[in-house]
């Protein structure tokens, strides 16, 4: 059963919240007179189910377990990752909490998994929230030749 949206008090404002970057979320952008590869804003979308959010990992949980976060969140399919601080997420009127994945028939267990949720039920983040996440994102594991935005 899905976790109900909430804001986790244990997650400090300075904690890093990581979002994996799959290859399918890289696009070409020809604006500005130069063809370049960048991350699609689709990366910062929530699921359209009203109570579902945007999947992330909580860095502090991995560090506490002695797990290398950069290695944990990347693979050939999702070669990069971006991160925001919890404070940057909360400043967008969003919540961040734990939502560990365990015993899923398909997905591997992920005790570090969390979600970023809206405070009210809606199909999408607002434009300001999506743009805010995009603007706040910094490379955690950079993909060579790809720009953040």
């Amino acid at each position: 059963m899905a976790v109900q949206p909430y804001d986790e008090a244990e997650i400090g404002d300075e904690d890093k919240i990581i979002r994996r970057v799959p290859v399918h979320h890289l696009v070409w952008d020809e604006n500005g007179g130069q063809r370049r590869r960048r991350i699609s804003s689709a990366l910062y979308a929530k699921s359209t189910e009203p109570q579902q959010g945007m999947s992330v990992e909580v860095e502090a949980l991995m560090l506490k377990d002695g797990v290398d976060p950069a290695g944990y969140v990347t693979s050939d399919e999702f070669p990069g990752a971006v991160a925001f601080s919890a404070a940057e997420i909360r400043a967008l009127d969003l919540m961040v909490g734990y939502d560990p994945i365990k015993d899923d028939p398909v997905l591997p267990d992920n005790p570090y998994h969390g979600e970023v949720w809206r405070k009210t039920e809606a199909r999408r983040f607002t434009g300001a929230q999506t743009n805010g996440l995009r603007d706040a994102a910094k490379w955690y594991v950079q993909i060579e030749g790809v720009e953040l935005k």
């Binding site: 994996r20 399918h24 696009v27 604006n31 189910e49 999947s55 899923d104 997905l107 199909r123 434009g127």
Partner: protein
């Protein structure tokens, strides 16, 4: 026109479409405007865009669960089929095909980033579309929710082909 007759219309076929029971392609125009008083119905729609994107549609509908590193599911056949028909109807010969971007929940997005416009079209399902346009020259943003009338979106796409940078330079001296 009866449902059975519409189903019998031979429209373009791709692998992602084959799985859809009772598939019916969009044969109506996407616009509320009539061009020279007629509505074009194309029995065998097959633009260069759809030809180019066919394999990509197949890839997106064949993604494994967890493709995004989380719980992402493949693009649904229904969503892909509607998107393919929308792409067909938005086709402008002088423009490149949109980029196809899967969303984790089985929906998908069409994106163009050119001519100082960002256009992103979220296809959430059949006749359930949200489109965004950012005009980088005029620093303006628009968002439209579309169920049946795709006129404004078609105009956005057509505007991508305009030589607006040069026009602006001429206007500005």
């Amino acid at each position: 026109m009866g449902e059975s007759r519409m189903n019998a219309q031979p429209d373009f076929t791709t692998a992602f479409q084959d799985e859809i029971p009772n598939y019916r392609a969009i044969t109506d125009g996407i616009s509320s405007l009539s061009a020279r008083g007629t509505r074009v119905r194309v029995a065998h729609p097959r633009s260069a865009w759809v030809n180019e994107l066919e394999k990509q549609f197949d890839v997106l509908t064949s993604l494994r669960r967890g493709w995004d590193g989380y719980a992402g599911v493949p693009v649904s056949f229904t969503c892909a089929q509607f998107a393919a028909n929308l792409v067909e109807r938005l086709y402008v010969r002088s423009l490149p095909a949109p980029q196809l971007v899967p969303m984790p929940n089985g929906t998908m997005r069409l994106e163009w980033h050119m001519n100082e416009f960002d256009i992103e079209v979220d296809v959430l399902g059949p006749y359930d579309v949200v489109a965004y346009r950012s005009d980088l020259l005029n620093d303006s943003e628009d968002e439209i929710e579309i169920q049946t009338d795709f006129t404004e979106l078609a105009e956005w796409v057509a505007a991508l082909a305009a030589d607006r940078v040069q026009l602006q330079e001429v206007a500005g001296g």
